[in-house]
Amino acid sequence: MHEWALAEAIVEYVKDAVGGHRKIKRLVVALGELQSIDEEILRFSITEILKSEGMSIDDLQLIEEEAVLRCRRCGHEWSLKEVSLDEEIRELIHFVPEAVHSYLKCPKCGSRDFEVVKGRGVKIVEVVAE
């Protein structure tokens, strides 16, 4: 349930973004595949925290973003489907996505000098106040 902590950060950010507004019309949050965020828990947490702040939300969109990784050494791009990451390791990456460099290598050249081009973690895409 560390999703709650991320939800607190999201709400903190949203509060700033909408100024004094109490009603959020739309909030779009991308969930990068690498971090395996529990969508339902995050949705619940954001809604609860907004409520406790006396705020409401019409439309909370959580959209999944596929992870794309690219090797800085050889240029190869790949997705998580191409590699195997067991449940236990996914759990570690869930907390700090950069830990992926401890467990994965480029499937083409074997280097750990790769980057997560897309789908690392949580990202706010859009906030619209009433």
Partner: protein, 248 residues
């Protein structure tokens, strides 16, 4: 380009960092651009010493690509920290201790600078510290992402700078003091592996108008005591650190 540093005001994680540190009375990053001067041993021992003196203490290892505070503390990295509306730093020797090593498990973790910065922001956003009198931060050598992030995210930080009387360390620490003094108030300099014969570190403090906080003598036994809390606490290193802890 995808590999960019996220501007502070566009990163939702940054918005919550102030609140995460809200219950912390004093933040003491242990710094030195020179490696091997004793940052890790000083931060670990200082955390244990302050806890023994009855203070509530947290310790955060921000040496992201080479964490080693857990090795000094003898943590086995078997279990993950508890989750409860965030990550609760496990307790060791009375100290709340957080490290990326819980997740990287002593595997090599080569990270480019922007990845280090990303990991730091993530850790700061999800770690739920209790009410603390002191948060000690172990930092890496060099003058790059972790160091700049410490200056950015921890306010007001009171850096403890560790120096030895090696000319290479003196030169590095000089550059660091110059940088730190541009942005914040340095708590003081700790001399490590002091021999008594050299006054280089004291002279450095005078030249840069920073406090000399005390000396830790060379302790030939310290390496053999690492990994055990009782071992560390029985060392002359720890006795010297405790003397410094009383002054903070």
């Amino acid at each position: 380009m995808s590999s960019a540093y996220i501007p502070l005001d566009e990163d939702f994680r940054v918005s919550v960092i102030g609140r995460r540190l809200g219950g912390v009375k004093r933040i003491l990053p242990v710094m030195s651009s020179k490696g091997g001067v004793g940052k890790t041993l000083v931060s670990v021992s200082l955390a244990l010493a302050l806890s023994d003196l009855g203070r509530k203490v947290g310790l955060l290892d921000l040496d992201i690509t080479n964490p080693s505070a857990h090795v000094a503390l003898g943590m086995k990295l078997k279990d993950l920290p508890e989750e409860e509306k965030g990550v609760k730093p496990p307790e060791v020797g009375g100290v709340e201790f957080m490290t990326i090593a819980y997740y990287t498990k002593d595997n090599p973790t080569p990270l480019r600078g922007w990845e280090i910065d990303n990991a730091v922001r993530e850790i700061l956003a999800i770690t739920i510290w209790g009410e603390l009198d002191y948060l000690l931060i172990d930092t890496p050598p060099g003058m790059s992402d972790e160091l700049l992030d410490v200056i950015t995210f921890f306010k007001p930080a009171e850096p403890l700078v560790v120096a030895t009387n090696s000319p290479l360390a003196i030169k590095s620490v000089e550059r660091l003091l110059k940088l730190l003094k541009e942005e914040l108030t340095v708590k003081g300099v700790v001399e490590n592996m002091a021999s008594g014969a050299s006054s280089l570190v004291k002279d450095l403090c005078t030249a840069h108008s920073v406090s000399y906080l005390g000396a830790i003598g060379f302790d030939p036994q310290i390496d053999s005591k690492l990994g055990s809390l009782e071992g560390i606490k029985s060392s002359s290193f720890f006795r010297d650190v405790t003397r410094i802890a009383r002054k903070l």
